[in-house]
């Protein structure tokens, strides 16, 4: 069967690429290994009668313009405030007084940052024209000398130092630092973590009602309405090349699909090292892929509860148990030394508080992201380490919600190894590649292929492992589609 483009993997970015290409009149097919589309954005029933809304909590990175362009049938709403859990009843993060100078400070560079992240990354090596670089530099300069220098000053700082300049309250600091570290291999004392803080904080719009799962449903509809096909339970084994250019793909069982364009929604490292025959892979491309860092550090826990637990006296849709940046730093130490963190901070979402239909009446779903759980564990991931992980998570849970254990009627634990296996993600990395200064913007995933194309003619990358990066945004998928359409293929 012959197509204009094959999308490998129905992750949310792949679906965006498919929808945009299909809307532009291309004949597109999406091939998904699992039985359901959506990748890590897919909602699933993890325990009979209880559903979660995706591996990641956050869907506020989806641009309104993208929703409009694809005609997505979703509702949006302001992101519910994050509740800081502690033993004194906690507080709403957004309401902290000392926050407003900080927020105002960030607002100054919001449009600059968003402009940078919405556009394709310029080429800065010798092959590129100077114009896009000059454009980006000019937009930097338009901030004014002072602002520009300030940005250059704070970018390399660690979030601990940067937040110290604005905030005193330890838990406020911790909860502003925590999101900056997700998807990175950094702790709050790591230099350049401020850059990822800015990236994370400035790419926020309104969140999707129903979370990433709702986005996936809307995307599937949009894709199909545009005339593209989504086929599940098809595992692509290899991307076929002819004379060094894409010719199609081969699936398990021998089925072949032909197309001059393949957009891979699986992470770049998996794509290059897993789907291209080693003897056909351009040597430098292979070397570059080998160097992409994908050290996953997140485990996920889904709890089915038969009641509403109290976290230090509160039960809110978004809760976080980190108390200090030192706690976050110590948790990251565990990752460095390849051991399980002692009692890791918990990043909690309770989707049932706005969508009660996800569980039986009066029951709840707790979606818990546990960061600082290393993919590379010296002891290896097996039944014992998974059990040990749960023991540690229990300790964190019962620290603030002592009665919760009695409320658990079902649970699912996804270790980084499970995430790697279930979603086909190298290193179990939720962003398809670490967020780090040398793996962002002009060099995401690498300096040579940061514009969604690759050295292999017809092969494009559209996953979160490409610019502008991870999280549920659909932006990489959209930019990849633009790159494909722009190439006039």
């Amino acid at each position: 069967m012959s197509y204009d483009a094959i999308i490998v993997g129905a992750g949310h970015n792949g679906l965006v690429t498919a929808a945009r290409l299909a809307k532009a009149g291309r004949k597109v097919i999406v091939l998904e290994r699992r039985s359901i589309p959506g990748g890590i954005a897919a909602g699933e029933e993890f325990h009979p009668g209880y559903r979660h809304t995706g591996l990641l909590h956050d869907s506020a990175g989806v641009r309104p313009s993208l929703i409009k362009a694809l005609g997505l049938e979703v509702q949006t709403r302001p992101v519910p405030l994050l509740h800081a859990v502690n033993t004194e009843g906690g507080f709403e993060l957004g309401k902290a007084e000392e926050l407003s100078p900080y927020t105002a400070r960030l607002a100054k560079i919001r449009s600059f940052a968003q402009g940078l992240l919405a556009a394709p990354a310029p080429r800065i090596d010798s092959g590129g024209s100077v114009w896009p670089v000059a454009k980006a530099s000019m937009s930097l300069r338009r901030l004014g000398d002072k602002e520009m220098m300030e940005l250059l000053r704070i970018g390399p700082l660690c979030v601990d130092d940067f937040l110290d300049e604005w905030l005193k309250h330890p838990q406020t600091k911790a909860l502003l630092a925590a999101p900056a570290l997700v998807g990175t291999w950094m702790g709050p004392r790591s230099p350049t973590s401020t850059a990822t803080l800015l990236l994370e904080a400035l790419m926020r719009f309104e969140e999707i009602v129903g979370g990433p799962a709702a986005l996936v449903n809307a995307l599937v509809k949009s894709v199909q309405q545009a005339g593209a096909e989504i086929r599940t339970d098809v595992t692509v084994e290899r991307i076929r090349l002819e004379n060094g250019k894409v010719a199609g793909v081969v699936a398990t069982g021998g089925d072949t699909f032909d197309a001059p364009i393949v957009a891979a929604s699986c992470d770049p490292k998996t794509t290059v090292l897993g789907l291209i025959s080693p003897v056909e892979c351009p040597p430098m491309m292979e070397e570059d892929a080998r160097c992409i860092r994908t050290r996953g550090a997140m485990a996920k826990v889904h709890l089915a509860l038969n009641g509403a637990p109290s976290f230090g006296g509160a039960f809110k849709e978004r809760m976080h148990t980190a108390q200090t940046t030192t706690e976050l730093e110590k948790a990251f130490d565990a990752v460095k030394f390849r051991v399980l963190p002692d009692s890791p901070p918990l990043d909690i979402r309770v989707p049932t508080l706005s969508q009660p239909e996800l569980a039986p009446s009066g029951h709840h779903v707790l979606s818990i992201a546990v960061h600082s759980v290393p993919f590379h564990l010296d002891a290896g991931w097996n039944a014992d380490s998974r059990a040990e992980l749960w023991t540690r998570i229990e300790a964190s849970l019962t620290r603030f919600a002592p009665d919760i254990l009695t409320q658990i009627v079902g649970k699912e634990i996804l270790t980084p190894a499970d995430i790697a296996e279930r979603y086909g993600l190298s290193g179990g990395h939720i962003y398809g590649g670490e967020h780090a200064l040398d793996q962002l913007y002009v060099s995401r995933p690498t300096l040579s292929w940061a514009r969604h194309s690759t050295p292999i003619g017809g092969l494009y990358l559209c996953s979160s492992g490409t610019h502008p990066g991870g999280g549920i945004t659909g932006a990489p998928g959209s930019l990849a589609a633009e790159a494909i359409l722009g190439a006039g293929a």
């Binding site: 060094g244 080693p278 003897v279 430098m284 292979e286 070397e287």
Partner: protein
């Protein structure tokens, strides 16, 4: 602090000159005597015995061995059957030469690669996804080269395999002096010659047996200096002298593609597996190379004339010179390259050199000038671009059994 090969006890006893050099971290003899002339003549008139153990050697085994080697070499190794050896180039992803190697197929799933530089990491990198094992036998396998017109005669009585049947650029397992070895009809002298691949514990047995058997045939142990003269006569490039491995080059202009360093003839584009760097090599063939490797015949009368100006006899040292000297255009105004290996050839009675020049100057017959210093003054000598190899005797390729077979066939046809 260098290491010694298993042959050291024998060669050091014979090396009265104490002239050694470092070869890949091993102690290697330059000359056994103060001068290398006698050893040179041994190679061309009888036979020379050289310890070539410092070569790097790799055993590639497994069903995908040919795939791996085809991926990294300019030759399509998949084409070579058991028993064949080929000379080829290893190229980097940008088409620049890293090394020149031989690959011999010892068995159905066993190849031996030899090179001057170490390539374990390189081979492993390109072995991803292939069913192959790579063993570094550099330090666990020693080797002797026996080169010269008497080489076959010397080997025959002590080798199990009938040496009259051993063809040029072949390799096979056999026994020499009762020891299991492989013999390949390969070498670096451009003459009739063989290389013997020996287990360290058998090293001295084989060495002694060869010396013993070779005595009536005037076999001489030879050092690297004599080898150098013969390899220049044979027109062979030497990595690190005539071209530089791309990994060692600090500036781009110093790197060479195979076409630029005389290894273009090893490129075989008829293949299923593209070799690393192939696109760049192909592109260069379309666009043209910067450099060309040339053989030069330096004008002997002009040399005599030059020395005469100083009232000196001409200096025709039968020792190779690796001191690079500039090559100029015929009018002497523009430097167009460098001669990197120069020697007087006693066999050819010519003063010859190997060098690199900018491609437009590399045509056969081009007149050029090469720098030559006499009494501290830099002068020029006229030279001409000539064909390589300079010396290519029939005995290099001749195989008695094959010739006899041919004659029998001719006779039968009459």
């Amino acid at each position: 602090m260098a290491r010694t090969t298993p042959f050291h006890s024998r060669v050091s006893a014979l090396c009265t000159s104490y002239l050694y050099k470092d070869w890949n971290g091993f102690v290697a003899v330059c000359n056994f005597d103060a001068y290398s002339e006698r050893e040179y003549y041994a190679i061309r008139q009888s036979a020379g015995l050289l310890d070539v153990s410092p070569l790097r050697k790799y055993e590639i085994r497994g069903p995908d061995g040919a795939k791996l080697l085809s991926r990294v070499m300019t030759r399509n190794i998949e084409k070579y059957g058991v028993g064949r050896v080929t000379y080829c180039a290893l190229v980097d992803p940008f088409g620049k030469c890293l090394d020149d190697c031989t690959v011999g197929r010892i068995g159905k799933q066993h190849w031996r690669m030899t090179s001057s530089e170490p390539w374990v990491r390189w081979l492993h990198r390109y072995a991803r996804g292939l069913d192959v094992t790579i063993e570094d036998s550099s330090d666990t396998l020693c080797a002797l080269a026996i080169q010269g017109p008497a080489a076959r005669k010397i080997l025959k009585p002590i080798t199990d395999f009938d040496m009259d049947r051993m063809r040029f650029f072949r390799i096979r397992p056999t026994r020499v002096a009762g020891c299991d070895v492989e013999i390949s009809r390969t070498g670096y002298t451009g003459d009739l010659g063989y290389e013997i691949w020996i287990k360290p514990e058998d090293a001295l047995t084989v060495y002694d047996a060869l010396l013993e058997e070779g005595r009536p045939h005037q076999l001489q142990p030879i050092g690297l200096d004599a080898l150098d003269v013969t390899r220049i006569e044979a027109g062979f490039v030497l990595q690190g002298i005539d071209y530089f491995s791309a990994k060692d080059c600090i500036i781009e202009i110093r790197k060479s593609t195979p076409d630029e360093c005389g290894l273009g003839f090893t490129i075989d584009l008829e293949r299923d597996i593209r070799f690393v760097g192939q696109e760049h090599v192909e592109r260069e063939r379309d666009e043209g190379s910067t450099w060309a490797l040339v053989g030069l015949d330096i004008d002997w009368p002009a040399l005599e004339s030059l020395y005469n100006e100083y009232d000196l006899p001409p200096h025709l040292a039968p020792e190779a010179c690796r001191l690079a000297v500039p090559i100029f255009s015929a009018d002497g105004r523009k430097q167009v390259g460098q001669a990197t290996s120069t020697t007087w050839s006693p066999t050819l009675k010519k003063y010859i050199a190997i060098g690199q020049v900018f491609a437009p100057y590399g045509q056969m017959g081009t007149a050029l000038r090469v720098e030559h210093t006499v009494e501290f003054e830099r002068r020029h000598l006229p030279c001409t671009v000539v064909e390589k190899p300079f010396f290519d005797p029939e005995r290099k390729r001749f195989t008695p059994a094959a010739a006899a077979k041919k004659n029998r066939a001719k006779d039968a046809a009459k």
